[in-house]
């Protein structure tokens, strides 16, 4: 006989998560078995992608079957909400793995893939987390794996090595410090309510000082992971230093995971009657829109530039939640999806034009791209226009939706900050577009390297999605309303 405290349905609920979490074990075993070189490298990536696709399939099945239920005593809440975020995480992980492939660095590919999947698993756990414990667990699984990934560069120039390791150290110290704040906040929340369950936190009446302080510290952790000014300081350095696929991965997955936690906390715990407890987040979001874009103005390293632009983009997304309206949640998800495609697409392009050993993400690598790789340049142009929020791209419609919801929620000032931020960002991105297209004397252009196929898939998919969502967003938008 088997006396188990939880019904099997609970395990079915976390099936995708389980898949993503166990695939790395297989990758590691294969890594031990297979001979060095290409087979080992490709196998690792292939298995990883296969696992992710399987997880995605299960997620979709769950979504269509509407088997939405709390599992493990509200420890993990399966629902359209968690599924949507999990799918975004899975997609991001797949694209990032595709970028891993061109790196000749076969000794590191296996572990990298494994860690990436574990990290994704952490994010998926956060997406469904129903109590503080699972939130913390997911957050740490996500982060711990990323600390390692940031430093995982081998066979690169000493400078690259130095950068990568430095980024790992900075990320480690700052992030665990932020986790400390969040953890203490959780302790206070637990103290205020006597329970770690978000559902139970809801019961607390407004104006409980311990609860308020708990929220405050919790929000610090949130703001740090989302990279909202002034908790954004870690992002540029870490993004620039980390290997490109990892940067791409971080730019979406950490955000998606923490956004899910934030949204659940916002809608599930604070609701509409604790507005005062959330104002600081709106403020930092507004700051991010401005500071992120302004700082991006003078960047000449693509990864760093995208880090700053990411800060601003997250500001937009958080702004969509202002007023905690269901509409806002929907639009935030929409923009997050759009952001996933356009941002990862841009990263994939950078990966494609990079050299074998180490990526050069300096902007000058883009000058004359239009003549070297017309298709690639066109795709990149679309990603950048989308990030800038120009039609006909997903970014444009996403911004319009966010504007609509913030204004509807009565946060005019956020809308204006968004418009101002966009004004600045247009320059940032258009500059690169022009660099790609304005004819330059071929003397300056580096020789055309054969492009490895894998990132092409990512670029193609992202480009199609970015444009499709821009031209006919209803496709995605009409699915979202079913999210609970």
């Amino acid at each position: 006989m088997l006396a188990q405290p939880f019904p099997l349905s609970d395990y079915a609920a976390i099936l995708p998560l389980t898949i993503v979490a166990t695939t790395p074990l297989m990758i590691l075993l294969l890594d031990l078995i297979l001979p060095k070189g290409a087979p080992r490298r490709d196998a690792a990536v292939a298995v990883g992608i296969a696992g992710l696709l399987l997880a995605a399939y299960v997620l979709v099945r769950q979504y269509l079957a509407h088997q939405f239920a709390p599992a493990f005593g509200f420890g993990f809440i399966l629902g359209g909400f968690s599924i949507a975020f999990s799918l975004i995480v899975v997609a991001a992980a797949i694209f990032s793995l595709l970028m891993v492939l061109p790196q000749r660095d076969d000794e590191k590919v296996g572990p990298s893939c494994a860690l990436m999947l574990w990290s994704a698993a952490g994010a998926m756990l956060m997406a469904g987390a129903g109590d503080l414990m699972t939130i913390f667990l997911g957050l740490e699984i996500l982060s711990l794996a990323l600390y390692c990934l940031c430093g995982m560069v081998l066979r690169a120039s000493p400078v690259r090595l130095r950068e990568a390791r430095e980024s790992a150290l900075k990320y480690l110290i700052l992030s665990s410090m932020a986790s400390g704040f969040m953890l203490y906040g959780m302790a206070l929340l637990f103290g205020a309510t006597g329970s770690v369950n978000l559902a139970a936190l809801q019961a607390i009446p407004a104006g409980n000082p311990v609860f308020a302080m708990g929220c405050g510290l919790f929000m610090i952790g949130v703001a740090f992971k989302l990279g909202l000014v002034p908790f954004h300081v870690w992002m540029p350095d870490v993004f620039e230093g980390a290997p490109l696929p990892v940067t791409a991965f971080m730019s979406v997955v950490t955000k998606a995971g923490m956004l899910a936690v934030f949204a659940r906390f916002l809608y599930g715990v604070l609701g509409t009657d604790h507005q005062a407890l959330i104002v600081p987040v709106w403020i930092v979001a507004g700051l991010s829109m401005l500071v992120g874009n302004l700082a991006a103005l003078s960047q000449i390293d693509m990864k760093r530039l995208l880090a700053y632009s990411g800060i601003a983009q997250l500001g937009y997304i958080v702004a969509a939640l202002a007023g905690t309206s269901t509409l806002g949640m929907r639009y935030a998800l929409f923009y997050l999806g759009a952001y996933t495609f356009m941002n990862l697409g841009a990263f994939a392009v950078v990966a494609l034009i990079s050299r074998d050993q180490e990526e050069d993400s300096h902007l000058s690598a883009f000058s004359g791209l239009g003549t070297r790789h017309p298709l690639l340049a066109a795709a990149m142009a679309f990603f950048l226009l989308s990030l800038a929020g120009l039609p006909p791209t997903a970014g444009f419609i996403g911004k319009i939706l966010i504007l609509a919801s913030t204004v509807a929620a009565g946060y005019q000032w956020l809308a204006w900050l968004l418009i101002a931020g966009t004004a600045i960002s247009v320059y940032v991105y258009i500059k690169i577009v022009r660099a790609m297209y304005v004819p330059v004397d071929l003397a300056h252009i580096r020789e055309i390297r054969p492009l490895s196929y894998a990132p092409w898939i990512a670029v193609a998919v992202c480009a199609v999605a970015t444009i499709a969502l821009g031209i006919y967003p209803a496709a995605l938008h009409d699915v979202l309303p079913r999210i609970r």
Binding site: L2, A3, Q4, P5, L28, L29, L32
Partner: protein, 117 residues
């Protein structure tokens, strides 16, 4: 007696004890210094470097692995306490846990994480 009584006593005892162990030898021991005695104990060899040298990186690696496996092992404790209540379910859970640890262990081993050099 205030709630802090025990704490105070504990602190006092700890302080006294530790101080005592520092001071007593100096007081009790008989002192007959000579140059040979006051040399560093190096089996007759002159000291080459100071004792507090830097450890090889290996040391840290082993230390880390030890920390990980050691502390994860601590997770057995709650299961061990409730083993009979959890019955087969708990056993399965624990086995899975061990398997996962084992795979990690195997990986480290195969990659030569434990070789000193």
């Amino acid at each position: 007696m205030t709630p802090y009584g025990p704490v105070a006593i504990y602190l006092a005892v700890a302080l006294v004890a530790s101080l005592a162990f520092c001071i007593l030898p100096g007081l009790l021991a008989r002192k007959k210094p000579n140059p040979v005695k006051s040399e560093a104990y190096e089996c007759g060899v002159e000291p080459t470097s100071d004792v507090s040298g830097r450890f090889p990186v290996r040391f840290y690696l082993i230390a880390m692995l030890f920390v990980v496996f050691d502390v994860e092992a601590a997770s057995f404790y709650p299961w061990a306490v409730q083993m009979h209540a959890l019955k087969l379910f708990g056993l399965i859970e624990m086995v899975t846990f061990v398997v996962v640890l084992a795979i990690g262990y195997a990986y480290v081993w195969k990659r030569g994480g434990f070789q000193w050099r």
